[in-house]
């Protein structure tokens, strides 16, 4: 029954959508100037690890934080500086480069750290597990978000 109702209402819906400028608003599609943390992460990882390939994904929209947050990130770093290093050392290098962000508004950081050979044989970005809402009502996260806004 409901789809039928929606079909009838569609013309009205469409015109409403066109009149609402925020209807197609996607926080992660904002111009660079509104994503300072993402830019900082990109800049710092580039400087520290001279990556062959770097991806910085803001995954905050997948978690229980307000839209437009820069609190949860996934990074993929492909660098020959990782050659011969165990995973933990690679991750520590990334953590070190992003020390400021991690003690500031970045609450979660997923890391994939590959050598160029590893990336060449398996060029895939891992997926984050589904959020279980832990950030909701978490005062530490609220403080970090506030720090990010200031």
């Amino acid at each position: 029954m409901l789809p039928g109702v929606l079909r009838c209402a569609r013309p009205a819906f469409t015109s409403l959508a066109l009149n609402r400028p925020l209807a197609h608003f996607r926080p992660h599609m904002d111009p660079d100037s509104s994503r300072p943390v993402e830019r900082a992460i990109t800049t710092k990882l580039t400087a520290a690890l001279k990556p062959d390939h770097l991806e910085v994904h803001n995954e905050s929209h997948m978690h229980a934080v307000p839209p437009g947050s820069e609190s949860h990130f996934r990074v993929l770093v492909v660098s020959s500086q990782f050659d011969g290093l165990p995973l933990i050392k690679r991750h520590r290098l990334v953590n070190e480069a992003l020390k400021e962000e991690l003690s500031g508004c970045v609450h979660a950081l997923s890391i994939q750290a590959k050598t160029p050979e590893q990336w060449g044989s398996n060029p895939t970005l891992a997926k984050s597990p589904p959020c279980m809402g832990g950030s909701r009502g978490d005062h530490t996260v609220q403080e970090k978000l506030k720090a990010g806004r200031e």
């Binding site: 995973l87 991750h91 953590n95 609450h107 984050s128 597990p129 959020c131």
Partner: protein, 159 residues
């Protein structure tokens, strides 16, 4: 039971600091209320953490409990351990105690939760455990702890 005896003994020691009761994954949960901190200096906490990570073969600092994780990354760690049949491990819920939450980050020099320890040695977080699981390293590391991964049985049965 052992955890209660150990934490009681710790209480009776002079200058006892925090009382941490881990949740035993796979066992009855008896620590219903958050641990009470007596006099706790940050240094005491770091000392306590040193003991906590060595007390059990597998130690996880996570958000929530193995029965009820409160974070997708913590849940992933629980699920991976479960897949390998590891259900006897100590799990500390950092959401119960803000000082523990910050203290373990200092202790491990690692900025995020969850954190996994094998035999007192820091292994990493969710990403590392997942990659170890995917590339077979986790089975090997568990073997070194004297833990036979359930996935080895599954592999044997399929042959």
């Amino acid at each position: 039971m052992n955890a209660i005896i150990r934490s009681t003994a710790r209480c009776l020691r002079a200058g006892a600091a925090a009382v941490y009761l881990p949740v035993r994954a796979g066992a009855r949960v008896w620590s219903a209320s958050p641990p009470r901190r007596l006099l706790c200096a940050a240094a005491d906490l770091q000392k306590d953490l040193g003991a906590m990570v060595k007390k059990d073969k597998v130690v996880v600092f996570m958000k929530g409990t193995p029965a009820q994780p409160m974070c997708g990354f913590s849940n992933a760690v629980v699920q991976i351990l479960r897949m390998h049949g590891v259900d006897q491990y100590a799990a500390y819920n950092v959401l119960d105690d803000g000082e523990l939450r910050e203290g373990v980050k200092v202790f491990s020099n690692w900025p995020t939760i969850p954190q996994v320890y094998f035999s007192g040695e820091f292994v990493g977080g969710c990403d590392i455990l997942l990659q170890m699981h995917q590339n077979g390293d986790l089975v090997e590391e568990l073997k070194k702890l004297g833990i036979h991964s359930a996935l080895l049985n599954a592999e044997k049965e399929s042959k």
